[in-house]
Symmetry: C3
Subunit: 246 residues, 3 copies
């Protein structure tokens, strides 16, 4: 049993996050909300997303797993304005998700989840965490994309810096402690290099968030955290570092 109704905007945020990494996803619904975890095909990046009951206009669910095709959800989204309400109901017999927008009904076949492994979030420890306005980070990423295909993130107890170095040009975005929402760094310096393609998509999925929290450690995965659905949901991205060839 699953019946939930939300604003189109909430669905949009969720889809933006998922489509960064995968085309199909296993959604776990339960009585207090839903969650999903996805690993990209190259196993370089991971997404963990939770959305509590409070993100919905109405919500009722028993524990279930639903296999969803992300492109089909995008099609549905195009039919709704951001304030429109979308209702999702599970048709257990037909193995379909029934989606209603106004008088319109789309019955969407579910995807087989038997081959989708349950990803485990690794336990990671980070000496540095940085909370930065999403819009600042997004501009830094866009500027970097013009000059390079990888990006370096650095933190010290005083400063956070994003840098991209191409053959001739260099981009960097440096914010000191006062310009950041939060900065904590228990080492003198931490730094890691990441694929800008992955990192850029993750940052763009955070577009609607106010702040993004970056957790960092030298030559170690980066963790991005941000709230969605007005604080009623949360997204965590993990991205493996790119090892610098010398």
């Amino acid at each position: 049993m699953f019946e939930a109704r939300c604003k189109a905007d909430v669905l949009r945020t969720v889809i933006d996050a998922i489509s960064t990494l995968v085309d199909e996803v296993k959604l776990k619904v339960g009585k207090d909300g839903l969650s999903l975890r996805a690993v990209d095909a190259a196993r370089v990046a991971m997404l963990d997303l939770t959305l509590s009951k409070g993100a919905f206009v109405t919500y009722k669910a028993e524990d279930r797993e639903l296999g969803l095709d992300v492109d089909k959800l995008k099609e549905v989204l195009k039919l709704a304005q951001s304030e429109d309400e979308i209702t999702f109901t599970l048709d257990e017999e037909g193995n379909r998700l029934v989606i209603r927008i106004g008088n319109l009904v789309r019955r969407m076949s579910l995807v087989d989840t038997s081959a989708m492994a349950d990803a485990q979030m690794p336990k990671l420890e980070f000496p540095a965490t940085i909370a930065i306005p999403a819009s600042e980070l997004e501009r830094g990423v866009r500027a970097s994309e013009a000059v390079a295909d990888h990006i370096e993130l650095r933190a010290t107890p005083q400063q956070f810096e994003l840098a991209a170095a191409g053959d001739t040009d260099v981009v960097n975005l440096a914010l000191d402690k006062k310009q950041l929402t939060n900065l904590r760094c228990s080492e003198n310096e931490v730094r890691s290099l990441f694929s800008l393609d992955y990192f850029g998509h993750m940052v763009k999925a955070a577009k609607g968030a106010s702040d993004v929290t970056i957790s960092l450690r030298t030559n170690y995965p980066v963790k991005l955290d941000f709230d969605i659905a007005g604080g009623n949901g949360h997204v965590t991205f993990l991205l493996a570092p790119r090892i610098e060839s010398e």
Copy 2:
């Protein structure tokens, strides 16, 4: 003699309807307004459009036939804002339509109409007519396009339904009598299947209209009617049914 002035918006509506079916059209102008009829190359669909004198800011015409190139009219439209006035004059000697927008003049050569047959609107009888908000119908069509290339229209005395069935997913839009502007159905049920490509273009041409009237009969052409130019014009589309292979 032909001299008429209208808002760019009126021209836009007319072009949207024509370009659904043909690239060239024979326009009949007369003292009370103009009309045109077009059949697509595959002879599956027909358009009948009338625009009375009242749709124009100024209008003076004697009986004439003008062969128009629809793509050229689209080019002209791009030069005008929706509230701009466009003036059309016939240059009989040069066999050209002279189009003025502000100080700008385009002299457009007319297309030879001698090969364009006069299409007759067939006499058709329909047991069901449904008046539905254009925006509802348009959303139903867009949702259907994501899952199938044909669409079924059904009516009963109580309900109108549009349905599209793909390999895995199904879309339908059902409105009962109270949700429709009008519903009349003298049989228990009528239903026909149509090409979504044609039907979709027709419905999108009705974008600016408030209601679209659908006339329906089992395994029979569908007729779509809507007003244009604030009630000073009218569009009728006919579309042959697609025969369901069993």
Copy 3:
């Protein structure tokens, strides 16, 4: 030494003018402002652009020449809103232009200017000058592009006219003295033919200007003049005539 700050809009206007003709440009900076001159690869068109100190929020410079890559400047522009301020500083040692938008820094390598010749503006005399609203001229150009690849400009003491003749259709824009901001023509008639590709790009670069001044002579280059940056800068384009084959 070079340090200047301006609104993104000012940079946009400058880039729109330059990118009409060249990908790389030699900018001359001096204590009162900057200037540049560019000739397109086919040597058919020339640009002269000046921007005084007054166009900048802050400006300090010694005489220098800077080689700029226009595409890179376009990338930078995409990172700024029109009211954002952009700061340019010269890094003499690194041979780079350092560009700051908020906390973001892009270090852009300069282009070698040694192979860029100093173009001389030819001395030209024109019997006719016409000042015309930029928006009128731009609409005339867009309408012409639909029918032809060249354009004729004509002036008499009473009228200015732009005309484009294709195989079947003709566009013209005629404004008499009262409709123009200014018209001076000391000959009975002057007329020249120009490539619409070049002329169109030049006219579109004048989009933000109120008036464009056209200087004309029979079978002779045309000169376009318009102010930029609220009168704190000026653009001059020269375009060679296209010789009509008879």
